[in-house]
Symmetry: C2
Subunit: 570 residues, 2 copies
């Protein structure tokens, strides 16, 4: 008889023979994608992205995943796999790789080019240990073995991953759509996806970003056709704004420019960089002479040139904004220019984009955007595409990833609609461990790994907390009101008058009466709350000043500036 063994759980705190899938980001938001796969002493990581902040995080550049869970486990990390070169999948690499021990990192050629370029801004960091993979490769990483398959997205060289684990195979789609007629790219490798699907897939982790939109996603060639039509019938200059990372769109514009005999200038640092990398690596085709430098733009008649640039979201420092505001060195708006805003508008940017449109129309130029024509296709699978992916993979479990919680839920409902068992839809959340045992039974556990919002603001990473953010919001709302009081150490009386410094509240110079009345209130508080005979609790006095002044200002103005008393005893 075999002797009784202690269950592995007792040793490790969690089952040694369980596969643990831990999303650190991307399950409650769009962006900051990063997932840990852990089995025993082996860990692999998929993606390492950043997320742009909400409106209630003023001044924050972006957020990155919290890797506290990996502390002390650095030696177990066999590798990091990157699905494609968008910032919500690669943006945290410079901030996190050193902290997790700089493990080897695997990605396709174009992704590598873009990651390496960004790394130049972080010269003080250790060099990355990048392995370039081809889509036919198979990579062994500890107990894991990973195959890649080609998917369509708005950037070429995007892959999904088939991750073989001792508990079964997990398919991770990355960001994807099916495009049967992409521009300068192959259609998603449906044959390989189907083959993987025939091999008893344990779980499908699939992109939910567009799970609320019915139907099929638009093909890039549809957009290329619209752009071609626009080039065909436009006589003046064409200025096309889009995302710098939308390589496929840039390709569509190059093709249209060449067909209609226009030179094309590319402007915007990140777009120029991406074009250069993609061209060098053969992921973007342009004939010699098509692309001209932006400073040559005025050497051609308007009907013979086009510009493609960054700033379709109204970003304040991007090229489009500078052109429209007359601040661009070489490009001024001409009468009869046609601007094409070839992107969707990210929530929060609509008013800015409308403002740009107003300015363009005021200058007698015009705008075509996605409201008016099919000048943009998203990069994400819609409902029918998602069902097709589920049908191809036929997984035991579906784990919707990438998107707000409601998008994950809607994606789960699609799984049920094509016949999956509702109990096999695993809706996870950031930081919560999903576990599969050796029999292939999976569940979302109650275990949560430590996770907080790590904010990057200027040079600081993680040094902005909720208190600072909350203060910024309050300051934005009603400004602030600093009261400085100098107290004579002996008499405990105010020396001179209290001083008021206010910003963002009211214009002090025009509101002498209010300010003077407030100073009087402060003097009363100090007189009441201090006495020359006893030691004074200055915190108590300050709190009193804050309270009395705050109430007084609210009563007079119905505004609540942040009241900051500075009391100094000399």
């Amino acid at each position: 008889m075999p002797k009784i063994m202690v269950a592995p759980q007792a040793v490790y705190g969690h089952a040694k023979n369980n596969l643990r899938v831990i999303p650190l980001g991307g399950l409650e938001e769009v962006g900051r994608n990063m997932t840990i796969f852990e089995y025993g002493q082996d860990i692999i990581i998929v993606d390492m992205g950043l997320q742009f902040p909400d409106e209630d995080m003023p001044g924050i550049d972006y957020l990155i995943p919290d890797v506290t869970y990996l502390k002390g486990k650095e030696k177990n990390i066999r590798g990091v796999l990157i699905t494609h070169a968008h910032y919500d999948h690669i943006g945290a690499i410079p901030h996190l790789m050193e902290r997790i021990g700089n493990p080897p990192i695997y990605m396709t050629e174009l992704t590598r080019g873009i990651v390496m370029k960004r790394q130049e801004d972080y010269k003080d960091k250790q060099p990355l240990n990048i392995h370039t993979v081809k889509k036919i490769d198979r990579v062994r990483l500890g107990v894991f073995s990973v195959e890649f398959f080609h998917v369509n997205h708005t950037i070429p060289d995007a892959v999904g991953l088939a991750i073989s684990t001792p508990a079964g195979t997990i398919i991770h789609t990355g960001d994807f759509k099916f495009d049967h007629s992409p521009v300068s790219d192959a259609p998603a490798d449906i044959a390989k996806i189907a083959r993987l699907g025939s091999e008893n897939v344990l779980a499908l982790m699939s992109d939910s970003t567009d799970s609320r939109t019915p139907g099929y996603s638009l093909s890039e060639s549809r957009i290329a056709k619209t752009l071609d039509d626009i080039f065909e019938r436009t006589e003046g200059r064409l200025i096309i704004a889009t995302f710098a990372a939308l390589i496929s769109r840039i390709q569509s514009v190059i093709i249209a420019a060449e067909k209609h005999g226009r030179k094309l200038a590319v402007d915007g640092y990140s777009m120029k960089t991406n074009v250069e990398i993609a061209r060098t690596l053969g992921h973007l085709q342009a004939k010699k002479g098509t692309i001209i430098p932006i400073n040559k733009i005025n050497e051609y008649p308007d009907g013979k040139v086009a510009i493609i640039c960054t700033g379709a979201q109204g970003e304040s420092n991007a090229v489009l904004m500078r052109i429209v505001n007359g601040e661009h060195r070489f490009v001024k708006v001409h009468k009869d220019d046609t601007f094409v805003l070839s992107s969707s508008v990210i929530p929060g940017n609509e008013r800015t984009v409308q403002g740009i449109m107003d300015t363009i129309y005021r200058k007698d130029a015009k705008v075509i955007n996605y409201h008016m024509m099919d000048v943009h296709a998203g990069g994400h699978a819609r409902q029918e595409d998602l069902k097709m992916m589920i049908n191809l993979i036929r997984p035991k479990y579906l784990i919707p990833i990438h998107g707000n919680y409601f998008m994950l839920k809607l994606h789960g409902e699609l799984g049920v609609s094509v016949g999956m068992d509702p109990r096999n839809i695993l809706i996870g959340e950031n930081g919560r461990v999903i576990e599969f045992d050796y029999r292939g039974n999976g569940k979302v556990t109650s275990e949560k790994v430590p996770l907080s919002n790590i904010m990057v603001d200027g040079l600081g990473v993680g040094d902005i907390g909720q208190v600072v953010l909350r203060d910024r919001q309050l300051l934005a709302k009603d400004g602030m009101f600093v009261i400085t009081v100098i107290i004579d150490g002996k008499t405990k009386k105010i020396i001179g008058k209290p001083q008021v410094t206010s910003r963002g509240f009211i214009f002090v110079k025009e509101n002498f009466d209010l300010v003077n009345a407030t100073k009087k209130k402060v003097e009363e508080v100090v007189a009441q709350k201090t006495s020359p005979d006893a030691a004074v609790n200055w915190d108590y006095v300050k709190n009193n000043i804050r309270e009395v002044v705050g109430q007084y200002l609210y009563q007079k103005t119905e505004r609540r500036p942040m009241v900051l008393p500075v009391v100094i005893e000399v």
Copy 2:
């Protein structure tokens, strides 16, 4: 031979016999609608609305039109005409009526009900002199004579205006759409519009809010049908959120509730008020017993009740937010509740609404919104409706109103597409005078009346300027850093140490080194820039502190908090 007469222009500075049309708001934005019509010594005004602020106006409640032009002309104002009871058309009434001499004000019955209700919040103001008009009325106001015609919108009792002037007739549509099957309202009075159109209309001022959307606007009965379907197949509780002012939608929900045997609770102060007013005036029909108080909601099974409430935009204090966050006194989210967000999402609110959807799905309830089904129809004419209006009115001039500049331009292009002379499309702007002479020749003049942004913030109207706003934006971005320095009046040396008070920048307690290094910088500046022998220019010292500290903090953090030196000599 008649003797030579001095042209009236020479007397008045502008032609006495010219009709002057002066939009004070609504031509470069959505909201704040208000237009002046002036002929000689007679003035009438159409609408008096407010506008909700942009994201770059933190803390501002709303904006109202600047009526500086009317100063000294109060005695000429014959009347104010209101087209319908939405805040972008009535919201500035309490703030402006007294300032323009409280002239008579004309509106339909429902509009009056809602205006009077809001007036209760402004008890210190003079009572309004309201004249209730019927749609068959004709009102004489000085040289002007005004007829009303019924249009469809999302609120009943909306009218357009036919304004007879000595220079010709101007048609002002107000906000409108054509709805051939509205809910509990009559279709727009196309017969009357056509009759007005047969009378040689000089100019059509028409609503451009939805001029960029192709096709026809949706009928409210289409939405009613969708809502009916939702009631039909939903077993759990139904919670429908929409705008308080969307009376037609509320009617559709009442009808569906009655048909499917559900009680309906109305919640949200403004919605309850509007329902009460509209019911009293017969603009909203509900059977006795259909509407129940919100505190009775739990006395019925989930399948037998529905709730209609405010907050579909994610407004932080509205009912929907309170229900979803578990803060509502009577309504908690139940498993299998269905929330219907029966509105579009106003630019800027998308992320908040997505957050609400996440929370609802987390509580195992679900959401239906306009992405998924036709649960919202806008209140504004689309391109085909706008063309129909132009064809019915056959005006000499088209003056697109209500909307961003590019919307006006697109509306103008529609006019040209149905055969109007491009020279007869008058694209105006806020404050710029449009003039028609006695021969009916119109133009946008170069004359601009004084116009600035009047912001309402708490009790203050117009006391927030660009400086204060700019400060709020800066404070929000990187916070602030107050340095207080006490100087000995004799020695010109610092007493004690400089004090630092910072908010929204970094967490000072965790950054002692940075703060101490900054204090040292301040001490250096003071030592360098002062001497005990000479009078000190403290502004100069302060500027130096600001500069040195600002640069130092940026170098260390790449952030730019607002640096405020307070230097006090004792």
